[in-house]
Symmetry: C2
Subunit: 244 residues, 2 copies
């Protein structure tokens, strides 16, 4: 699927405006991906400096959101887009809220990384916490986020549906980590506070999967012109197939 049918307007400048916000969204997405990557690395390496870098950079994510938001409003006011252009703008307005929240979750993980790094040598459990399972979950949601942005760049509803289906895998991995941490807590009640920091980080990753999932729903809406939120993925798939 190409993006041609999103570009049928009279004004070249209008095309340029729309292209600009699409590019801004992808740039914001790239920054958020970077934040997530660094937060995961800081977490697994107990790297407090890197974690602080993530926390400091969250402002850049927030500024992106505000600036894209303003650009969308300007386009709505100046260009009065209709049909698929209007859907593009309203999709962007929603998608950047999710991207900004992914940024917030990355920041939370960075904060937990610092908490855990600072108690590193004091807890008997440190070596046994499921760091590799957390990295696996991190990789699943990192891939989901990347592919969601990719589907947005190519306006590809089929790809978006495939990405969104992976959310089940993220949920399952989160559940497994959560059960494992519960066992740890029962065996080592004195480590509960630290294990909960670990659990919150896993939870933050699981929520990033949810946000990637939301972005994919917006893409399907954008391409298909039908709101698919709150449908099951099987229902959405049938809908997309019936139109292709």
């Amino acid at each position: 699927m190409d993006t041609e049918n999103l570009g049928q307007h009279i004004s070249k400048q209008f095309n340029q405006d729309l292209e600009n916000i699409r590019e801004e969204v992808l740039a914001m997405g790239g920054l958020v991906e970077e934040q997530l990557k660094k937060a995961l690395e800081a977490f697994s390496q107990h790297d407090v400096d890197l974690a602080n870098e993530v926390i400091d950079n969250d402002d850049r994510v927030n500024n992106f959101e505000i600036s894209i938001d303003e650009d969308c409003i300007k386009i709505l006011a100046k260009r009065q887009p209709a049909a698929s252009d209007l859907r593009l703008v309203s999709t962007v307005l929603k998608a950047i809220t999710d991207l900004e929240r992914v940024g917030d979750e990355a920041e939370k993980i960075a904060r937990m990384a610092i908490e855990i790094a600072e108690t590193k040598d004091k807890s008997p459990l440190n070596g046994e916490l499921p760091y590799s399972a957390l990295q696996n979950l991190g990789n699943v949601v990192k891939t989901m986020l990347h592919q969601a942005l990719d589907a947005f760049a190519r306006m590809d509803a089929d790809a978006a549906i495939e990405v969104a289906k992976k959310d089940k895998k993220a949920d399952d991995e989160y559940d497994a980590i959560s059960r494992q941490l519960m066992t740890y807590m029962m065996e080592e009640p004195r480590s509960i506070s630290k294990v909960l920091d670990f659990l919150w980080s896993a939870r933050a990753l699981e929520r990033i999967g949810d946000h990637a999932h939301n972005i994919c729903e917006y893409i399907v809406y954008l391409v298909q012109g039908q709101d698919v939120r709150h449908l099951t993925w099987d229902e959405i798939h049938r809908l997309v197939k019936s139109r292709n």
Copy 2:
């Protein structure tokens, strides 16, 4: 502050369209408030039937979101609103996402209520869990949500700022509950699973406070015409005062 300056258009039908989406948002807000109230009651009374009613009703919340979303897009397409009207529509688009998520959190609390009710007689800790602290937190965020909707109805930026400041209180109460539950878990490791259900419910309430806070930021933007997300409340307050 009144809403007069939001209503200066040529067309009466346009005024009516804008009034309709405002009313729809308030109706959706009323339903979400009801869901939260029932979820809290189901939680404290171990009322499985009421909890199931909340879960079943979440579809109504979702349908509200889709329908208001479509109405906003129709207005943007048909009426090409400018200035404060455009801000109203974009505010509504964002606010309903937060309201829908409050609905999701209420549903989560209802699910936890069922989990806890079903293990009610099996756990030694049941009598000691901080139910009244959770109800207090519930009351704080219920009031925040109600007053945020009220500020929206009256387009009152000052009231919105006052509401948003209460989020700190919600966060503090959540932290206190969280610390208390951690102590419980350390003393009764076998109850960890149940105590975590309780903790997730407290967390859901804390997030509802965040969503009410978001809605208040949109109201300030709507009324003041300036994006105040990511400013501190002191900065926002100075801004509002400088314009009054």
